[in-house]
């Protein structure tokens, strides 16, 4: 008896339309994993650095010894600018310049100064692995110097023994010179742009998308679609009306979600400084672009959902059709959290750019760093995507597919032409 029911349930649920999205997403995620590479491999790599030793004293020798053993040194000389160029070319993480009176200063119970010129390429979690490794290396330098101070008994100041060096940091990030911040501090400050915004956009897309797909399923299940399609209203107006209605529902749901989530994320953020102190602010026109990016991406996503919704036979099958949208929203969310758009491989760049939801996730950060082309290009792409999808949706609404699941081929299609005909 149970076997019979299990067999029926399996046959009803294990159909091509539910299998294909899962297989596609499994392949995509597998590909992402392979392309990004493993955390372990990246952590094990030696950080690539350049070193300028202006001191040549006993303590700077210790520092140089630790650095050359635990890091791959691509520049060792006296020219900071030249060294930085070489580090950049070598895909390195930073140039360390040991101050002229480094050893003398430590001997005089005052911390020795190390200037660190960070080369930051992205603010994703994986982008900070190299800088994290160098942070650990600087700790090792401190420990070695501390050990020497203890062995020699040359300092009576415990604070100096525990922290014998002082860092003066400058971070170069996408053409900006940010004095006084390390990449990890900057990453923490940009956490809102890196995590909160992608998650909120993802929730907005999923909630609004689910609304529109479910609405299509309900229209079919409640047998209201046929009536709607015989009313004196253009098909394009039905499509756009459904999209805008669902967008409003999605916006309300996302706003509620955002209030809770942003409060949660605020608890992790440091209050060390404001982004505005470092010139990382947005003007009114930037916020306008972010708004346009979000609006076009939402409509593009919803137009895709309408097309998917036409495949829904009822409310239950509509729920299954939400899955591809969820997956499409999750892909850029994770990629943008882990890596910066500029630091992902080309194939992933194409994938991220092609998914319309990616653009509002990246917009605020990109505008903060003056990357207007990425935002404007994204808006143009999502607008074109939306127009194409709406045209496809209207064409489906004008065909037999919506009611019969089939398409009328031949002359009738030719007469109908593309979707925006006033019908």
């Amino acid at each position: 008896m149970i076997g019979n029911i299990v067999k029926k349930e399996f046959k009803e649920l294990f159909v091509l339309s539910t299998i294909i999205p899962v297989v596609v997403i499994a392949i995509v995620y597998g590909g992402i994993g392979q392309m990004i590479g493993s955390f372990e491999e990246r952590v094990a790599e030696k950080p690539i650095i350049g070193v300028v030793d202006r001191d040549a004293g006993n303590f700077s020798d210790i520092a140089m010894s630790v650095l050359s053993q635990a890091a791959k040194v691509v520049y060792e000389g006296s020219d900071v600018e030249g060294g930085l160029e070489q580090v950049k070319e070598g895909n390195g993480v930073a140039l360390l310049a040991i101050a002229q009176n480094f050893s003398q200063s430590i001997s005089a119970d005052s911390p020795g100064e190390i200037e660190i010129y960070w080369i930051m390429r992205g603010v994703g979690m994986m982008d900070s692995i190299s800088s994290g490794a160098l942070e650990a290396l600087i700790q090792a330098v401190n420990q070695e110097i501390s050990k020497t101070l203890i062995q020699q008994g040359s300092s009576s100041d415990p604070a100096l023994v525990l922290a014998p060096t002082r860092r003066v940091e400058t971070t170069f990030f996408k053409g900006k010179e940010i004095v006084g911040l390390s990449p990890s501090q900057l990453s923490r400050m940009l956490m809102s742009q890196s995590i909160v915004i992608p998650v909120v956009v993802m929730m907005l897309v999923i909630m609004a998308g689910a609304s529109v797909i479910s609405s299509m399923g309900l229209e079919k299940e409640n047998k209201t679609l046929e009536t709607l399609l015989t009313l004196p209203v253009r098909r394009s107006q039905i499509v756009i009306g459904k999209m805008v209605g669902s967008a409003l529902v999605g916006l309300i749901m996302a706003a509620i979600y955002m209030i809770g989530f942003s409060r949660y994320m605020t608890s992790f953020q440091s209050s060390e400084a404001s982004l505005a102190d470092f010139g990382l602010t947005l003007g009114i026109h930037d916020y306008l672009l972010v708004g346009i990016s979000l609006f076009t991406a939402l409509l593009a996503g919803l137009s895709l959902c309408i097309v998917l919704g036409t495949f829904a036979k009822n409310y239950r099958s509509a729920q299954a059709l939400v899955f591809p949208i969820t997956a499409l929203a999750l892909i850029p969310t994770f990629i943008i959290m882990l890596k910066d758009f500029d630091t992902v491989p080309v194939v992933l760049k194409v994938v991220v750019f092609a998914i319309p939801f990616s653009h509002p996730m990246m917009a605020m950060r990109a505008l903060m760093l003056d990357n207007y082309w990425l935002v404007i290009g994204g808006i143009a792409y999502t607008a074109v995507f939306m127009v194409v999808m709406v045209a496809v949706a209207v064409r489906i609404f004008n065909s037999d597919r919506l009611l019969t699941g089939r398409v009328q081929r031949g002359a009738a299609w030719g007469r109908l032409g593309w979707g925006f005909r006033r019908q």
Partner: protein
């Protein structure tokens, strides 16, 4: 020249490789009730859906009050009203809200108020009109939908099995509503597999079987032609 409410000529409708309608022709005059009758799967619903602009024409032609399909589908939708066999209403709306929603497509201001008022009168749901559709019985929902279909004074009402699933009392009420609409000038094209009901209701009838019209005329003409006591007998004789 008198404009026909509906003119269907050599209509063919294919679903992939399956031919659901095989070249049917008929006309509906203004102010008449024309019935398409036949068994399940005969092609009645497909014919009505095609005339209601929901399905594409494979070949042949359809004009509704002189407007050709599919070229003038937008114009046709302004003058028709379609009631599908298993139609439903939006469950989260009340009956009144549903009528308001539909009426907004047909008029504004006073015209809108008049349309809704007519819908309320036809549906005749009393206080229950302000309850959610979700709580309605099948008969109440059907009365609401008949009200929706006829409230906008359409020139042509296309009714697919209008009394399907209704008890005797509700079915009789729906038939009365249809008759009074026709008296007000509406042309009605309806389908039914209840041949006795069609005999009572329709001015003219087309018998459809396996996608083809096998006979048409008034009930009296068809009974006379096949020497039958009723339309059911005439239909059985016609398809033999």
């Amino acid at each position: 020249m008198l404009v026909k409410a509906v003119q269907v000529k050599e209509l063919v409708k294919d679903y992939g490789n399956f031919r659901a309608i095989k070249g049917i022709s008929f006309e509906v005059n203004e102010g008449e009730i024309f019935g398409l009758i036949g068994p399940n799967g005969a092609g009645k619903t497909t014919a009505l859906r095609t005339i209601a602009t929901l399905l594409q024409i494979t070949s042949g032609s359809i004009t509704v009050f002189g407007h050709e399909l599919p070229k003038e589908a937008g114009e046709v939708r302004k003058i028709i009203s379609y009631l599908p066999e298993e139609a439903g209403a939006y469950k989260n709306l009340t009956g009144r809200e549903y009528l308001n929603f539909i009426a907004k497509f047909f008029g504004e201001g006073e015209k809108f108020q008049n349309i809704v008022q007519k819908g309320l009168e036809i549906a005749n749901l009393g206080e229950r009109i302000d309850d959610k559709v979700d709580t309605y019985s099948k008969g109440m929902t059907r009365r609401l939908l008949v009200g929706r279909a006829l409230m906008g004074n359409p020139k042509l009402a296309i009714l697919d099995e209008p009394t399907s699933g209704l008890d005797v009392v509700n079915a009789q009420e729906v038939r009365r509503i249809i008759n009074s609409s026709v008296e007000a000038g509406v042309a009605v094209l309806l389908s039914s597999h209840n041949m006795l009901e069609v005999e009572l209701l329709c001015h003219r009838i087309a018998l459809i079987n396996d996608g083809m019209i096998v006979a048409s005329g008034t009930a009296a003409e068809l009974k006379d032609k096949y020497g039958a006591r009723n339309i059911e007998e005439a239909f059985v004789t016609a398809i033999r």
